[in-house]
Subunit: 200 residues, 2 copies
């Protein structure tokens, strides 16, 4: 049984969103499953000394344009959120909780959060909104709401982000397959070739 | 007559090298010619507040690996130079001079410089080496050698780099076609679609 591949993403990352739409089908073509890892890029950028793409001079303006163009190029429905970048702690913590409590719903939940943010301009930084999205999927929203207030889930996301950084993750999307790292939606073609051929 | 496209590159940029191998054919498929613009990323990174890819923690290690993998993926012969990053002022100034004095030789000269650096590990920061490469192409090497010592060519490269930054150039390769900007070798597919369809 070939091992699962690891898909790291921040809910505020447009390229992470693009990746989230393709990663499961890409992996499935090669008989692989995907472990979804919500992380926070903020602490990683701070540790590494980089800035969010959109806040860098020149690069920022370019990247906003590139994001929309890349969506069109890949026929992805996309609408740049009015609040951007977005604090995604709540969404990431909620995903970790859903993964533990309702594992079968975890990917649809993460996809629903991403879609709410990048196609409907919904404020996914807002805890009641995140809880409502969970409820729409039949997830126990009262239990989720209670869990989001506890220290345990905050510590879990912090540890998950640290663990990702320990594995060399510094951006979103970031995929690790059989020890090989791929940063960016624009490396999915290389990931695909690697999974097909076992080498690249 | 459709206008030429602008190809900006730094001789120390591996992705710029990959781009240099394809840009002319890509443009020619759409009836376009290419203006080659050697620039220095150093002053641009300083102005923008970014760092060279390979000196950023995590990203640096990843990018060295990604460069070699990308070369393999595209069947590009490539050998990571032992001296990297490389000071490319001399090579860039020499290219500007060849463009002015021997325009028909300018692209082959730039390609020879890139190839010397990224396939033969030749020190293209060394002026006599750059002059020798020019001489091998039948370019007046004595005149080039003299020109490289003058202030005029230094000012010209400085102005060219400033002008690039004014147009929003912040990396290598960077292509501008009909006002549309494309950063990175990994955007050549989008550039190709844009030149084909006139929109993207």
């Amino acid at each position: 049984m070939p091992s699962a591949i690891d898909f790291y993403f921040d809910f505020s990352s447009p390229y992470g969103y693009f990746g989230s739409l393709e990663i499961n089908q890409l992996a499935a073509r090669h008989g692989r499953t995907v472990n979804w890892h919500p992380i926070l890029l903020g602490p990683i950028f701070k540790a590494v000394g980089t800035n969010p793409l959109v806040s860098t001079p020149l690069k920022g303006d370019y990247s906003r344009h590139d994001i929309e163009r890349t969506a069109r190029f890949h026929n992805i429905f996309f609408q740049m959120p009015s609040r951007f970048p977005m604090g995604t702690q709540v969404a990431a913590r909620a995903t970790l909780w859903v993964q533990a409590q309702h594992p079968g719903q975890a990917v649809p939940f993460a996809q629903a959060i991403y879609s709410a943010f990048f196609t409907e301009d919904i404020d996914i930084g807002d805890a009641p909104t995140v809880v409502r999205i969970a409820g729409d999927l039949g997830i126990d929203h009262a239990a989720l709401s209670a869990a989001l207030g506890e220290q345990a889930i905050k510590d879990q996301l912090k540890a998950a982000t640290e663990a990702a950084m320990q594995r060399g993750v510094f951006g979103s999307p970031f995929v690790i397959a059989d020890g090989e790292s791929f940063w960016g939606f624009d490396r999915f073609a290389q990931l695909d070739a690697f999974l097909k051929n076992g080498t690249i």
